[in-house]
């Protein structure tokens, strides 16, 4: 463990620490961000009323829309001269959301990423290649500072340029590779297709750290088998801090939440009511130590559950299930829960197939039918039928192995998928309206 005292703290003691920090954090937001003051007052809540963890249910929620409405600095709780870094997420609709960090926040961010890396078995002796994008996105810099804090040799490769990734992997003796899970599959495909003589076993690669998009156990199995590594999930949201909110341990069964910095609750997404431990619902985050950008009861829309299972790794931190999608857009196809984001991550493994695709779910008789329409652009077009048919077949195979559903892949002309506000309409559920 990177921070044994915290990560193996008795549960009761952790609750005490959380209560003390929550009082500070709620007061900090109220005193320094007019938005929170107004919101709390409108809900009839005052920080003085906050005496126990049970009072949490009286605190109003913060939504993504609140963040957009306060673009860019409206939710910052310190003067801008105390802010040393910003990150921003583009979001799928509307404004970007901007988050800020003080020097101390940057340290906390590095600390939780370092803890995550240690829980996967990474040490200062490792060579960590970071293939997340560097920039406004929290992935690249987040992993970078965490890896440096741990003392590992950090290779800031950033995303893309697969041949160069593989060259560095060999030449630098990379042992740990960090990227999105779909990029990992992309790399496996690239090796298979273009470098038949490249032996992944000849590299020193042993651990993969994957996050920033939802992925399934099937994808984990495929990545582990094809890249010959142990693949671990790192979870986070830029609105909360970035990657490192929670991390898997060697058990690969649930992610430990670094709850000395982030207080988590599960609520019923429809009623907002707090659910007891073990029940499934929407996870809500409250920052406990963040100075520049406190987040009080942020509704993530991520669906999961929280539990303590006396994990064999020795961490006493609460665990959450791997998040596989967002609450507002889940589809149930033949009894399988499927999120558009998962479909997207399957397609992202095929260069050129995103961003324009559409999923059409329909019911033929008693069976749900899923059709994925992919616009054919120049990158994937070939004058040979064989090549085009192989593309559809490979996509369909990947759907079966990653999501456990068989989908019909239809290749369509560019600009045929309807767009609203310039973006492709991703999901059409023709079953809607049926009981």
């Amino acid at each position: 463990m990177f921070n044994k005292e915290i990560e193996s703290m008795p549960v009761d003691k952790m609750k005490e620490l959380q209560l003390e920090r929550l009082k500070w954090s709620i007061r900090h937001a109220y005193d320094n961000v007019p938005f929170y003051k107004k919101k709390f007052e409108a809900a009839g809540f005052h920080p003085d009323q906050f005496k126990s963890l049970d009072d949490m249910k009286r605190v109003p929620f913060l939504t993504k829309q609140d963040m957009r409405d306060n673009y860019p600095y409206g939710l910052f709780a310190v003067p801008l001269n105390k802010v040393v870094r910003v990150h921003a997420s583009s979001g799928t609709t509307g404004n970007a959301t901007v988050v800020g960090y003080t020097k101390n926040d940057v340290n906390v961010f590095a600390e939780v990423v370092a803890r995550s890396l240690v829980s996967y078995g990474v040490s200062e002796n490792d060579v960590v290649q970071i293939a997340y994008g560097y920039g406004l996105f929290t992935g690249g810099l987040g992993l970078h500072y965490g890896s440096e804090k741990l003392g590992a040799l950090t290779v800031p490769m950033s995303g893309g340029n697969t041949p160069r990734q593989l060259m560095l992997m060999q030449d630098f003796g990379t042992t740990v590779f960090c990227s999105t899970p779909s990029y990992a599959l992309n790399i496996a495909d690239f090796i298979e297709k273009n470098m038949p003589d490249f032996k992944i076993e000849s590299t020193k690669l042993r651990i993969g750290v994957f996050g920033a998009e939802p992925w399934t156990e099937e994808m984990r199995a495929e990545i582990e088998q094809r890249l010959k590594i142990d693949a671990y999930d790192i979870y986070g949201l830029s609105e909360v801090i970035g990657p490192g909110v929670s991390a898997e341990c060697k058990e690969k069964n649930g992610l430990h939440v670094f709850e000395d910095h982030f207080y988590v609750e599960i609520i019923d997404p429809d009623t907002g009511e707090v659910l007891p431990e073990g029940e499934k619902g929407e996870i809500v985050y409250t920052s406990l130590t963040k100075e520049a950008f406190p987040g009080i009861r942020y509704r993530s829309r991520d669906i999961t559950r929280l539990y303590h299972d006396g994990c064999s790794c020795g961490r006493t931190l609460v665990k959450m299930d791997k998040v596989t999608g967002r609450s507002d857009d889940m589809l149930i196809i033949r009894g399988v829960n499927v999120f558009p984001s998962q479909i997207e991550s399957v397609l992202m493994g095929f260069e050129g197939t995103e961003p324009h695709y559409q999923i059409v779910v329909d019911r033929k008789g008693s069976m749900d039918d899923i059709e994925v329409m992919v616009e054919v652009n120049e990158k994937i077009f070939s004058d040979e039928i064989k090549v085009m048919n192989n593309l559809s077949k490979n996509i369909a195979d990947r759907f079966r192995s990653s999501l456990g559903i068989s989908a019909k892949i239809t290749l369509v002309e560019p600009q045929t998928i309807p767009r609203s506000e310039g973006k492709a309409v991703r999901v059409v559920d023709k079953r809607k309206g049926e009981a």
Binding site: V376, N377, E378, F381, S382, D383, E384, I385, K386, M388, N389, T410, L411, V412, E413, P414, Q415, T416
Partner: protein, 145 residues
């Protein structure tokens, strides 16, 4: 210079092929020969046109996915067995034909076949060695403006 083929992706539904042909006609691109390979959902239109580069440009401007590829145009005697003989040359040399189609018009009593190879250069060399007449671009589409 190799003969170049213009290919386009079309949805297999009424009106789609027509749209491609109209775009080309409006820009004065003359189609010398044309063939379609189709599946249930889509077709690949393969054309020899008088100005493939311009054709590619105008299709692109109209959001029609297209590409340009080198193909081999071969003169074959219009007699029984001559296509078989040509294919036999390829088979013996392990040259894989991706697809082929015939030219609509004959040239001086001879048929012209279009072949798409994975490895066009090896095919060209093998055929020249055997005395076949490979039709040049200029013979088919004339002086390119």
């Amino acid at each position: 210079m190799n003969v170049t083929q213009l290919s386009a992706f079309v949805t297999n539904k009424p009106g789609h092929l027509q749209k491609v042909l109209k775009v080309l006609a409006d820009e004065n691109i003359n189609i010398i020969t044309l063939t379609i390979a189709e599946t249930m959902d889509f077709g690949i239109l393969r054309m020899i046109v008088n100005d493939p580069d311009k054709g590619y440009k105008v299709l692109k401007e109209h959001n029609i996915t297209s590409s340009i590829t080198d193909v081999l145009a071969l003169e074959i005697d219009d007699t029984p067995g001559s296509l078989y003989n040509a294919l036999d040359v390829f088979a013996k040399l392990n040259l894989n034909i991706e697809y082929m189609y015939a030219f609509t018009e004959k040239r001086e009593g001879k048929a012209v076949m279009i072949f798409r190879f994975e490895d066009i250069d090896s095919a060209k060399k093998a055929l020249s060695d055997k005395g076949y007449n490979i039709v040049r671009k200029i013979d088919i589409i004339g002086e390119n403006k």
